[in-house]
């Protein structure tokens, strides 16, 4: 019996999100509610939390009448989604014990059926509720370029800022690389800095994991402060959002 189904007009974003999450966590949750679909996962070392929210409106079809939570294996799902491209339509059908994933490209439909993992013992992934004094809004591609230009320099990403300026830097024995994004030069879309001179460090690897979703995002909203988790909110054209927290390093 068909329990619920939905169709998404852009399969590629699913691919990016699932492959990004699969880099640091094996399994996560898919929470299906009548009004939205959420994919959520926290890595075992509790350094990063990812939450992908798609409102009902972002789907072409969305038939979910009651809330249901299932466990997702990112590795298995990632293999299926590997061939997904932009403009592929993604159809997901959930039955009692299986999840059926179909891609439609130029009228050709490919369907994959995977077993659904047991829902028993699902560990709840907690919510984070942090107030930030600083916020920066930047286009996804620009943030992607900024990260790409410094990621190879070192293992640590330092984020700091002053009024209207966001600084990303990476330091190692090799040297130092820094990128400055400012409102004045039109690189930042918005900036609110309540704590000028703030600085905080993060493991670079956790930012590298989500580079593809960052590139695909319309905007990246970064909330950050001294010794607080970095919080990235990525927005997509159909109204979907990816929320991503990375814990700070304590030096």
């Amino acid at each position: 019996m068909l329990d619920l189904s939905f169709t998404s007009p852009d399969a590629s974003i699913w691919r990016y999100v699932v492959s990004s999450a699969g880099k640091f966590v094996e399994v996560g949750l898919m929470i299906l509610r009548p009004e939205e679909l959420i994919i959520k996962a926290m890595d075992p070392s509790r350094t990063a939390l990812i939450e992908f929210i798609m409102p009902k409106e972002s789907f072409e079809e969305y038939n979910v009448s009651e809330e249901r939570t299932i466990q997702l294996n990112f590795e298995e799902l990632g293999k299926v989604l590997r061939s997904a491209e932009k403009d592929d339509r993604l159809t997901v059908e959930l039955e009692a014990a299986t999840i059926k994933i179909g891609f439609e490209r130029r009228g050709i439909v490919r369907t994959f059926t995977l077993p659904l993992h047991t829902e028993a013992g699902l560990e709840e992934i907690p919510e984070l509720n942090i107030e930030y004094a600083n916020m920066f809004k930047v286009r996804g591609e620009i943030f992607y370029d900024a990260l790409s230009s410094i990621e190879d320099m070192g293992d640590v990403l330092k984020i700091g800022g002053d009024k209207n300026v966001l600084k990303l830097s990476s330091v190692s024995d090799l040297g130092e690389a820094e990128v400055e994004l400012s409102l004045e030069k039109g690189v930042l879309e918005e900036a609110e800095v309540g704590n000028p001179g703030f600085t905080s460090s993060y493991t670079m690897e956790f930012f590298t994991y989500v580079k593809r979703p960052i590139k695909a995002a319309e905007y990246v909203i970064l909330r950050v402060d001294t010794d607080l988790p970095a919080f990235l909110e990525l927005t997509y054209p159909q109204g979907s959002k990816l929320k991503y927290y990375v814990a700070p390093r304590t030096e």
Binding site: F24, P44, S45, R46, P126, E127, L228, T250
Partner: protein, 623 residues
């Protein structure tokens, strides 16, 4: 002011505490406190008390897991599941992640402390990264890591393989270390490294199980026997915890769970050996192979090594033999798996079996190194525990259960009470590729003492061996018909040394290894014109080959060692009464057409070589 979320946190905290108190879960800190104590004490009694205390605080649902963790393992080796063995580099990465340190910093601390466990503890003390945990809104008065969670995560780490497993393992470890207290982190890292360093022996855990579940150490023999019959201490502990100590009093072997093997004492004097076993004895050929405990249940077969490792995958051919030749549905048998020469069927040394350890192409290796199985005991048959039965009865069952073939049969043996006969059989075994003999008591109390070394079985092995360094040149004096692929050809040659004093050729060995197919074709042609219907007058032999030949051809031969033999006439009586000198595992190198038979190696030269190379044999652990 107390807000609503604080009230909720307090509620969750006490709820979790209540669950602990009800005994469903066990906090890791109980185990870690015990580990800390065990590090500081050496007295066996004190160590036992600490383990007793741990087991008393262990809910029965997880007693098996706690026992495994005390043993420093995740499961018994014989299960063939992956071991943890997490490399230093992984651990350094995980510690860095969990403590918010750089890898350089971890390495620096490691250099100072010399102990990764200690390093994790120090860094956890210095820094408390905690990941996102401390920012979680619904987190919760965490009551700490539980033994179950740690065990399950460690199991997951061990079982994770394939693409991406490296990062996942690091993340899982980092996850545990993030939640752990500094002390817990120390032991988690040591466990992952396989270096728990508790100095805790199995004997102590057996004592503690007897005390906790039996009420006294007097129950130790019952627990120990159960463990010897089913070599899985975790499952024994679980059984006692659920069903009481009485449940294991008459525990039977179970197909699929190895039995600890009975071991033999060692003596070097045939008279003393026979006297120790009570006179009449079963004397078995001690093959130079791998001792295998063979379990069969319908078509499922497991083979366990002497060290209880699951070696089934190394012997798919033996698995097939068991399916065909063991007539019972359920049985546990013991035998020696011995490498053989694929051409001649002769036994080869144990070292040849090393090729079987290969994990791929095993079906190729089977052809290159075929094996034979020589059975010597049966411990369980169709629901009957035979370990408590005397050997004579077990042998009767073994004979009924096994449909013997050339490759799968009961080990050669004699029954004797005569020391000379024992000695003669011993020399025969050595010469034919064996290590010696195992002498087994035949009286009614001669049960199978699982896991024990005792005087019911006594091994009689060589004290000395004379390794062969140089080749020798020997003369062909006879030949044996080949079998199998060598049918219709002379597959094995009877070789002799020259005795100058008597001007005769005295036999040294049978030579069947080292020939190419072309060599074998040539031999048949070479021997045709010199074949005799009787022994040549200058040949001195106690062995009767299929054909005799005129001593004419000389071959260069190399062997593993020179050994004493009751069958060969070379130097007979020179070293030991009724024993000559022979070559163990002889191999053909090449023909020596430049040499006449009288130019062959002399018997005196062989005697000199034997004495010169004689060295004490180092004791091997095999019984």
């Amino acid at each position: 002011m107390l807000c609503l979320s604080d009230v909720f946190k307090t509620y969750v905290y006490y709820l979790r505490k209540a669950v602990y108190l009800l005994g469903y879960v066990m906090e890791l800190k109980i185990l870690v406190e015990a580990f800390n104590q065990l590090e500081k004490i050496t007295s066996r009694t004190q160590i036992t008390n600490v383990v007793v205390n741990v087991l008393k605080n262990t809910p029965k649902e997880i007693v098996d897991k706690v026992v495994y963790l005390l043993q420093g393992v995740l499961w018994p080796d014989w299960k063939g599941l992956p071991e943890l063995g997490v490399g230093e580099k992984y651990l350094i990465k995980a510690i860095a992640k969990a403590t918010g340190s750089s890898e350089e910093e971890v390495e620096k601390t490691y250099k100072t402390s010399g102990d990764l466990g200690k390093t994790a503890e120090m860094l956890k003390m210095r820094k408390s990264a905690g990941g996102l945990t401390k920012f979680l809104s619904s987190s919760t008065g965490r009551a700490g890591l539980t033994v179950e969670k740690v065990y399950d995560t460690l199991a997951k780490i061990a079982l994770t393989t394939g693409e991406g497993s490296r990062d996942l393992k690091i993340n899982l470890i980092a996850g545990l270390l993030t939640e752990a207290t500094p002390s817990e982190a120390k032991f988690i890292v040591r466990f992952l490294e396989g270096r728990l360093r508790l100095g805790l022996g199995e004997a102590t855990i057996l004592d503690a199980l007897a005390i906790v579940f039996g009420g006294s150490q007097a129950y130790r023999p019952i627990v120990e026997r159960a463990y010897n019959i089913r070599a899985d201490l975790g499952s024994i502990a679980r059984l006692i915890a659920y069903e009481g100590i009485k449940s294991i009093e008459n525990i039977k072997p179970e197909v699929g769970i190895p039995i600890k093997p009975m071991l033999a004492e060692r003596l070097d004097n045939p008279e003393e050996i026979l006297s120790k076993v009570g006179g009449k004895a079963l004397v078995e050929f001690k093959y130079d192979g791998e001792r295998g405990q063979i379990h069969k249940k319908d078509d499922t077969v497991y083979i366990f090594s002497r060290r209880l490792e699951n070696i089934t995958h190394q012997y798919p051919d033996v698995v097939e033999m068991v399916r065909t030749h063991v007539l019972s549905n359920e049985a546990i048998l013991e035998g020696e798996i011995v490498a053989t020469d694929p051409e001649t069927g002769e036994l080869r040394p144990f070292q040849e079996l090393m090729h079987r350890k290969r994990k791929y192409d095993i079906h190729e290796v089977i052809k290159e190194i075929p094996v034979k199985v020589f059975l010597f005991d049966i411990l369980y048959n169709e629901g009957e525990d035979l370990t408590t039965k005397p050997i004579a009865y077990r042998r009767e069952v073994l004979k009924k259960v096994v449909k013997e073939s050339e490759d799968f049969r009961i080990a050669d043996y004699i029954i004797t009470e005569d020391p000379q006969e024992l000695e003669k059989f011993f020399l025969y075994c050595i010469e034919n590729g064996g290590e010696g003999v195992v002498v087994k008591a035949l009286h009614s109390n001669a049960i199978y003492q699982a896991g024990a070394r005792g005087w019911l079985w006594i091994k009689y092995k060589r004290d000395y061996k004379s390794e062969m360094i140089d080749t020798v040149d020997l003369v062909v004096v006879g030949a044996f018909a080949g079998r199998g692929k060598r049918g219709g050809k002379w597959g094995t040659l009877l070789m002799a040394a020259y005795d100058k004093k008597t001007d005769t050729f005295k036999t040294v060995c049978k030579l069947g290894t080292g020939f190419t197919d072309k060599d074998l074709e040539e031999i048949t042609e070479m021997l045709k014109p010199i074949t005799l219907s009787h022994k040549h007058p200058r040949v001195d032999s106690d062995i009767e080959p299929d054909i005799w030949v005129i001593p004419q051809y000389v071959a260069e031969v190399l062997g593993a060692e020179l050994t004493l033999s009751p069958l060969h006439t070379c130097c007979k009586g020179a070293v030991k009464k009724d024993a000559g000198i022979s070559i163990r595992f002889p191999r053909f190198i090449k023909w020596r057409p430049d040499k006449k038979p009288e130019d062959a190696t002399t018997t005196d030269e062989l005697l000199e070589m034997y004495r010169r190379q004689l060295k004490k044999v180092e004791e091997s652990p095999t019984p």
